[in-house]
C-alpha cells in the first residue's frame, strides 16, 4: 500500500513536471539562479580568505638588534616575546645570515660590496621577524617592544630599531579594510540569499497557485493530503536536482572565462580549486536546491489544503 502510494506519487510528479513544460523550466531556471548565487558566494568567500591569508603572511614586525647585542641576548628577547599570547611565530636571523642575505641582494652592486669588504665587522645586527596570529594584534606586540626598549633596565639596549611605525599605517589600513569587507560581505551574502530564496519560493508558489483548482477537485474526489501534496513535493525535488546539475555545468565555462583575470589579480587558480572540490559544490547545491524545493512546495500547497 505504502509502496504503491509512493510509486503513484513519483509517477504523477514526473507526469506533471513533463506536462507543465514551460512552468517547470521557469522554476528550474529560478532555482538555478539561486544556486549560482550560493556557488558564487562560496567561491568568492574562498577567494577572499585565501587572499587574506596570503596578505597576512606578508605582514610582520622586524626587530633589528644592535651590533653589540650577543646572539644569547637576542635569543633571550625572542624567548620573552614567545610568551606573548599574540605572537604566532618568530624567526631568528643571525648576524652572519643577515650579512649573507645582504651580500646576495646586492651582489651586482660593486660599490656596496667593496664598502662592506672595507669594514672589519659586519655593520648589520641580528633580526627577529615576528608574526602575530591576527593582524589587529601587531599594535600590542609593538607596544611590548617599545616598553622593552624604552623602559629596559638592561644596558646597553640591544634593540636598534622596530619597523612597526613604518608598517603601522599599512597594517591598520588593512585591518580596517578587512573588517569592513567582512561586515559588508556578510550583509551582502544574507541579502542575496534571502532575495533568491524568496524568488524561488514565489515561483514555486505560482506554479502551485495555477493548480489550486486541481487541488480542490482532488480533495472532493477523496484524496488525502499526502496524496495531493506528494507529487508537488516530488516536483520540487526534481527542480532542485535539475537546477544543481545545470548550475555546476554552467559554472565551468563561466569560471574558465574569468579565471585568467582572477589569477592575474589575486594570484589564485580558482578553476582548479573548483575542480578539486567539485563534489562539495555539487553536494551543497543539491542539498540547498532540494531543501528549497521541498520547503517551498510544502508551504505553497498548505494554503490550498484547508478546504
Amino acid at each position: 500500500m505504502i509502496t504503491t502510494t509512493i510509486r503513484r506519487i513519483i509517477k504523477t510528479g514526473f507526469t506533471n513536471f513533463w506536462r507543465n513544460g514551460i512552468v517547470s523550466i521557469s522554476s528550474i531556471l529560478m532555482m538555478t539562479v539561486t544556486l549560482s548565487v550560493v556557488i558564487f558566494l562560496l567561491l568568492s568567500s574562498n577567494l577572499f580568505s585565501l587572499t587574506l591569508d596570503r596578505v597576512k603572511n606578508e605582514i610582520d614586525i622586524n626587530v633589528y638588534a644592535t651590533t653589540e647585542a650577543t646572539p644569547e641576548e637576542v635569543l633571550k628577547l625572542k624567548q620573552d616575546l614567545e610568551f606573548l599570547p599574540e605572537v604566532d611565530t618568530i624567526e631568528y636571523i643571525s648576524r652572519e645570515q643577515v650579512l649573507s642575505n645582504f651580500r646576495e641582494k646586492h651582489r651586482n652592486d660593486e660599490q656596496i660590496i667593496q664598502a662592506l669588504e672595507a669594514l672589519e665587522e659586519s655593520p648589520l645586527g641580528a633580526v627577529l621577524n615576528i608574526k602575530a596570529k591576527e593582524i589587529s594584534q601587531y599594535s600590542g606586540i609593538a607596544k611590548f617592544l617599545e616598553s622593552k626598549t624604552v623602559l629596559s633596565d638592561e644596558d646597553p639596549n640591544i634593540v636598534e630599531k622596530v619597523n612597526y611605525a613604518q608598517n603601522k599605517i599599512m597594517i591598520e589600513g588593512l585591518n580596517k579594510t578587512i573588517n569592513a569587507v567582512h561586515k559588508f560581505g556578510i550583509a551582502l551574502v544574507i541579502i542575496l540569499i534571502v532575495v533568491s530564496i524568496l524568488i524561488t519560493f514565489n515561483t514555486i508558489r505560482l506554479v502551485i497557485f495555477i493548480s489550486r483548482e486541481e487541488i480542490k477537485v482532488m480533495r472532493l474526489v477523496g484524496a488525502n493530503n499526502t496524496f495531493i501534496r506528494g507529487p508537488f513535493i516530488f516536483e520540487g525535488i526534481i527542480y532542485g536536482v535539475m537546477a544543481s546539475f545545470i548550475t555546476i555545468i554552467l559554472s565551468y565555462p563561466v569560471l574558465f572565462w574569468v579565471n585568467p583575470f582572477i589569477e592575474k589579480i589575486f594570484l589564485i587558480d580558482l578553476l582548479s580549486y573548483f575542480f578539486s572540490n567539485i563534489f562539495m559544490f555539487f553536494g551543497v547545491s543539491l542539498v540547498v536546491g532540494t531543501f528549497l524545493g521541498i520547503i517551498s512546495s510544502i508551504l505553497a500547497v498548505r494554503k490550498y489544503l484547508k478546504v
Binding site: R219, V221, G222, N224
Partner: protein, 226 residues
C-alpha cells in the same frame, strides 16, 4: 440514508440561505432539487459534503453526523459520495482515463482494479474510445461524462450532480440525464439539482423538491413548479 434535521445556514452578514430544512432521502432514490439561483440548493449540498457546517440543526449520513467527522477522516467519507459539477472540474493535465483513474488511486485501489474498472466505467458513459483525450480536446457533454465516470468509479452510495447540465445544449443534456438514470438503476442514490424545466419533465414521476428563498416549498413526485 440522508437526513437533514431542522438545518439552518446563516452567513456572517446575517443572511439565512437555508432556513429550517428537514428532509429524508432514502437509499436508491432519484431526487431532484429545483429552485432559482440563490434558493439554497448548492448550500444544502455543500453541507452534505461537509464543506460547510450548518449554523443550527444536523445533517446525518446513515448514522454519522457529518459535522462531527474529523478532518483526517473526511476524505474517506467523501469517497462514499460521487460529485458532478456544472463546470466539470476535471484535472486539465490528465487524460480522460487518468482523470477517472485518479479517483481510484486516491481511494487506494490496486493497479489491477484500476486497469479493469476504468475502461468499464468509460464504456458505461460511452467514452471508451476517447480515453486518451485531454479535457480541452473533449466537448462539454463529453467532459461531463468523464466527470460522471470519475464520480461513480469508486461505487459510491450517493451521486450528487450539482447543475450537471447547466453548461450543455439540449442534446447533451438528454444524454447526461439518461446516464444519471442508468447509474440510479444500478443502485446508486442520485441527488440532482437543476433549474431546467425540460430536465425535470424528462424524469417523469420521480421525486422533486422545490426550494425558494432557503425553504422547501414543495416536496412531491413529478412536475416542475416554480
Amino acid at each position: 440514508m440522508i437526513y437533514f434535521d431542522k438545518v439552518t445556514k446563516k452567513y456572517l452578514d446575517g443572511v439565512k440561505v437555508v432556513k429550517d430544512v428537514s428532509l429524508t432521502i432514502e437509499p436508491e432514490e432519484f431526487v431532484s432539487i429545483v429552485g432559482h439561483s440563490g434558493a439554497g440548493k448548492t448550500t444544502l449540498l455543500r453541507m452534505l459534503l461537509g464543506e460547510e457546517a450548518p449554523t443550527s440543526g444536523v445533517v446525518f449520513f446513515e448514522s454519522t453526523n457529518i459535522n462531527k467527522i474529523r478532518k483526517t477522516q473526511m476524505n474517506k467519507y467523501r469517497r462514499r459520495i460521487g460529485i458532478v459539477f456544472q463546470d466539470f472540474r476535471l484535472l486539465p493535465n490528465r487524460t480522460a482515463y487518468e482523470n477517472v483513474a485518479f479517483a481510484m488511486e486516491a481511494a487506494g485501489r490496486t493497479d489491477d482494479e484500476i486497469i479493469s474498472d476504468v475502461p468499464h466505467v468509460l464504456n458505461l458513459v460511452d467514452l471508451g474510445e476517447k480515453h486518451g483525450s485531454f479535457p480541452q480536446e473533449l466537448s462539454g457533454g463529453e467532459q461531463q461524462r468523464v466527470a460522471i465516470a470519475r464520480a461513480i468509479v469508486n461505487q459510491p452510495d450517493v451521486l450528487i450532480a450539482d447543475e450537471p447540465t447547466g453548461n450543455l445544449d439540449p442534446d447533451n443534456t438528454e444524454d447526461i440525464i439518461k446516464i444519471l438514470k442508468k447509474v440510479n438503476e444500478l443502485g446508486t442514490t442520485v441527488i440532482l439539482t437543476t433549474h431546467n424545466k425540460d430536465v425535470i419533465n424528462s424524469l417523469g414521476r420521480k421525486r422533486v423538491i422545490t426550494m425558494e428563498g432557503g425553504e422547501v416549498v414543495r416536496d412531491g413526485n413529478g412536475g416542475y413548479v416554480l
